[in-house]
Symmetry: C2
Subunit: 309 residues, 2 copies
């Protein structure tokens, strides 16, 4: 069964996937980035939206899992994104996560067909749980309706929790509405159901309400600050740190987020290869790149208090 | 190069995929259904939306292609759906289609990320054409914005046609708006670009304007009638046949289309296995099934003229 240590909590990043000049995933840069995140007290979500997971094959994801396993194993508290349109692929990735020693999977619903019934989505998740048949499995539902276009409704979550307590372990709420996150926490407070905010913009509020933590894209580039805020939400520094984190996030949000973060990492490391993205995403143009990096440099030269003025 | 015979035209069906009781694709029923369609003068689109292609792995699709190849090859004018979120999978399926002797592929754009740029979509298609590097390849763009949420804009189509004339062979327009289909025909009339309507509801109008044909879900269940109308659009029988075809389609459109069509085929063949769908789709409930079958039986007992009264 899951140890406390293996239960994800606090701040996690959907780990950006670096690509080599030939377009294939770069395992060296990937492992280095994971290490940098862990050193900042940021946990790992492999193969999330911001990892360009949808643009990678199951084979490529398994290779990256294997690279981490060979490098010492997946750290406790890691999650692996497994959701696919085809349940057989979701099963393949879930088995690969378990084989890699990771019981925590982040699960998109099948997202091609739109307007599907809660009954159909229930069966999709149930099928995975029953086919895997492993008591270690902990599923975190991935609610990101603006992208997947297929939501996990409150009643569906309740039904899943009733049928599979333990296996249904929590949710990443990327609805983009803090009220929805608070509603989830309130609705399922009596269950063992960990609610993660989908970004840090209302982290103090959701932690106060009982969130398990946050899984945020910007933890790839602002991990230490978000992780500190997540631990310090009930201390006097929290309001200023919340504002500073939001200010930094806003700088990235002016551009396609994945590309902007990769551009910033490439500049920070002096490694242009990091800026590569897979189609249909494209790199920032020269003007966007200059504007983003100038803003980040300007922000880094001010204290958090000054950043807000 | 492509022979005239191998150029898709007229009426095609996105071939429904039958599943065995264990959930795997049934090659025997699949081949039989393909044969029934061909006998009705209906061409084949393997792995379309209505084929539940998104719910199948690349491996399963390759196995079905192989089954058809072993059974005598893919008929001339067949299309194979190859679009996936991950371009490497799109490439794998495109190569499998060509290896099976089929040069015509129906291509969804990468559909997970939303709000992507035309530049990113251009690169996605360009990447496939250049990686395949085979002059036989004929790509039919699959425009189905309500499902994919990622459209092929007029300007993107124009740019693709300019860069890759020959490789960009046409489009399936499932925008659900006949005006859009007519606009496509008009806009790209000077090119070798075959516009297929995404359903038969305005078939006479679009054929009159110069459409290459129609790729419609309901050709799985009403193929002979749609194929006849598609050939007879400029004859006196066309208005009545158009109305009759629309009347039949309306009966199926009251329910989730894939499930309704499979239910009708199961009833027609006396083969309950045909009604199986993969999650997240679900079968019709008993009331829906009875209502659908009753309406179909009632329609079959009237002449086309009576159906309209």
């Amino acid at each position: 069964m899951t140890t406390i240590e293996d239960r994800p909590a606090g701040t996690l990043a959907p780990v950006l996937t670096p690509f080599k000049p030939d377009g294939s995933p770069c395992t060296r840069r990937f492992k280095e980035h994971c290490q940098r995140l862990l050193e900042q007290d940021v946990g790992l979500v492999l193969f999330g939206t911001n990892s360009e997971a949808a643009s990678m094959t199951a084979h490529e994801k398994r290779n990256l899992l294997e690279a981490l396993r060979e490098a010492g194993g997946l750290p406790p508290g890691t999650m692996v994104g497994v959701g696919s349109c085809a349940l057989a692929e979701t099963l393949e990735l879930t088995r690969a996560a378990l084989d890699s020693g990771c019981s925590n999977v982040l699960m998109l619903p099948p997202f091609f067909y739109k307007g599907v019934s809660d009954e159909g989505l229930f069966r999709s998740v149930a099928r995975v749980i029953e086919s895997i048949g492993d008591a270690r499995l902990r599923i975190y539902l991935y609610h990101i309706p603006a992208v997947s276009q297929v939501p996990f409704s409150m009643s569906l979550i309740g039904r899943l929790l009733g049928a599979y307590p333990g296996a249904i372990a929590g949710i990443k709420d990327s609805a983009g509405d803090p009220v929805h996150t608070l509603d989830l926490i309130s609705e399922f407070r009596g269950h063992s159901f960990d609610v993660f905010a989908g970004n840090e913009t209302h982290l103090v509020d959701v932690m106060q309400a009982g969130a398990a933590g946050v899984i945020s894209a910007t933890a790839n580039v602002n991990g230490a600050a978000i992780a500190h805020l997540c631990n310090a939400w009930n201390t006097p520094v929290a309001p200023a740190e919340q504002a500073a984190a939001n200010h930094l996030r806003a700088a990235f949000s002016k551009y396609p987020m994945i590309t902007a973060m990769k551009t910033a990492i490439a500049a920070r490391l002096g490694d242009a290869t990091w800026a590569r993205v897979r189609a249909p995403l494209i790199e920032l143009d020269a003007g966007q790149k200059d504007a983003l990096l100038s803003e980040l440099i300007a922000m880094s030269c001010r204290s958090p208090h000054e950043q807000l003025s």
